[in-house]
């Protein structure tokens, strides 16, 4: 099981995956936007998105849980 956390304060611009989706390492899970920059959050392992903790329009803080890949 791998937890994916936010690395910075950002707005959640786009959620690319849904809970239950199968992802591979390097796949984009969500796209954050901070300071006029788009930052894709990538899966670091292969697996299934078991939890997705953010929705489009949310503001995440550094360290916030974004998703869990099981």
């Amino acid at each position: 099981m791998a937890e994916v956390h936010a690395e910075m304060v950002a707005n959640v611009w786009k959620v690319v995956v849904a809970e239950g989706d199968t992802v591979e390492e390097g796949d984009t899970l969500v796209i954050l936007e901070s300071m006029k920059m788009e930052i894709p959050v990538l899966a670091e392992d292969d697996g299934v998105v078991s939890q997705l903790k953010v929705a489009e329009g949310d503001v995440v803080q550094e360290g916030d849980l974004i998703a869990v890949i099981a």
Partner: protein, 453 residues
Amino acid sequence: MLNETLGTVLIANRGEIARRIIRTVKRLGLRAVAVHSEADADLPFVTEADEAVLLGPANPAQSYLDVDKVLEAARATGARAIHPGYGFLAENAAFARAVMDAGLVWIGPAPEAIERMGDKINARNLMERAGVPVAAGTREPVTDLEQARARAEEIGYPVMVKTAGGGGGIGMSVAHDDEGLAKAFEQAARAAARFASGDVLDGPAVLLERYIERARHVEVQILGLPDGTVLALGERDCSVQRRHQKVVEESPSPGVTPELRERMLAAAVKAGEAVGYLGAGTVECLVDADKQDFVFLEMNTRLQVEHPVTELVTGLDLVELQLRVAAGENPEVRPEVRGHAIEFRVYAEDPKRFFPGPGAITVWEEPSGDGVRVDSGYAAGTTVTPFYDPLMAKLCVYGQSRTEALELGRKAVEAFRVEGPKNNLPFCAELLGNAEFVSGEYDTGLVGRMRAK
């Protein structure tokens, strides 16, 4: 004349550039009005203005980009002129028109000039007609991938893919092959749809251009006067970039011979004349340092972030010149470049990967002394929020020679203390120790090579 025509100037911007404009406005005996969002209420530019107006929430669409609110603030404070700074509404022709329609003085070029230069395809075609060299590329907007593939084959890989409108490196990437093109096209089309200003283009439009490997990004500062004269005020080398965005700029460019400089400055004047340019603008070029040749990239119809390096080597105040020109004056300007200036953009971002790092500022100590200029937007106790771009300050140094400027830069970077948000001062220090940068023989790939190690 200045006082009668302008009187009170509203600055439709934030942070360091608002503060910079306020400084000159007040020095000239004019009144300065700041407008700000809720997120920026504590920043120095708000308190330094003679009067400040809250526009709305942090979201730029509901504050800095809300034309009605900005015009209402001007009316309520008796402002007679609006300076847009850079970014936000600075290159929005519809806003410039709205300002003029409201009977106010627009401190910038004519809306028609903004329009002509805002669309990069249009601008390039116009430049070609004016006799300014341009890179091989698309003559018409590309709107689907198949078209893009066909054009890329004609131009030849690698190609630079970018949005026809927009700016600031958003949606720009280099495609080396067909596969890369699909990815780059999708990215640019998405950025075009999201960030295009809307008043220039009707839909996502993408531009393809031949990509010059190991090119330098060199731009010429121009100034258009009411009598039709266009002056070139030297060049700036902006090749130190990450994510296609500038980090360090210097003037003069160490990669340009006197002969090439003369040709570039003459072409920039021609470009300005072709659009009937008024005020401060910049003609951006790509330079092939090996061949000592250049092509037109785009024109920025505003004051630029990096204007201080030109001010340091020419001794001019570009904001003052903008104000005088907008008031109808024909200031006597003798463009003469002396010494060497370097600007380091201090960003709230991590120094390794350059990811944004907003946060509350606990320590803020700026360097000072002879040859050191800091244009900053923040202070200790203020917060860098995620809503706007990551520029916190510009650290500029000036010396009689490039060697002297580099030495001053090392001391000043070391003396600049920022705690709280992540910042790229360690990157600036790293750059000042990099042999390629120090030699002056660098290109736009420098930062990529530093990070690939």
